[in-house]
Point group: C2
Chain length 113, copies 2
Amino acid sequence: MAENLNNKENCNPNYNPLDPVFNVLQGKWKNQVLFEIIALKSARFGQLTRAIPKITNTMLSTTLRELEKDGLITRKQYNEIPLRVEYSITEKGKDLLPVYYEMYKWGIKYQKE
Amino acid sequence: MAENLNNKENCNPNYNPLDPVFNVLQGKWKNQVLFEIIALKSARFGQLTRAIPKITNTMLSTTLRELEKDGLITRKQYNEIPLRVEYSITEKGKDLLPVYYEMYKWGIKYQKE
DNA sequence: CGGCATCCTTTCTGATACTG
DNA sequence: CAGTATCAGAAAGGATGCCG
């Protein structure tokens, strides 16, 4: 796998299957938000702001839209009064769990001090 | 809300074993550099600049120092003329391969279009 | 309730020049 | 060869206010 990245002097942006994962998970809040939604199955905007105390409206909104654009979550709006919006995880989102699991094991192993 | 009784928003970031992985792999060049070093077993500074055409001295230098600080690579300097420096992967660095492998599988599965 | 618009601060990246 | 110093521009993150 490592060799895939090793074609020298190729100036084309050689396609790398790792890139989408990093792109999709980059950003200060991506994982926290995604994990909350996974954990809660389905979550509302306000629920997420409470679950992630330091996040601002702006960043939660941005993060949710990016996760949705990348197909990791879906947004469902109920036109009630007051407005209700539910975010839930997709298959594509759930399929990231093996990645997280390996990260988790690595994190545990090298948990330092 | 009677939050004046509960003035403290909780400041303890509940420890998450995923965080170190993301911290360690964040940055535009981390993975490319790490993968080159894995692929080449051991690599010199100039070798890396040639292998990663668009990287600048500044960014390569910064990236290498961070990877070293995080224990993913080691730096060995030979005081020859001209100076020679070899970067090589550590066990801790190699142990990230399962993470990359899962990312790779996900990337393949959801390779788009 | 669930946001978006605006403006501002901080962090990251990169071009250029120079050194042991 | 293998970097560091400096500075400027770009991008990411955040505070505040308003609206359907």
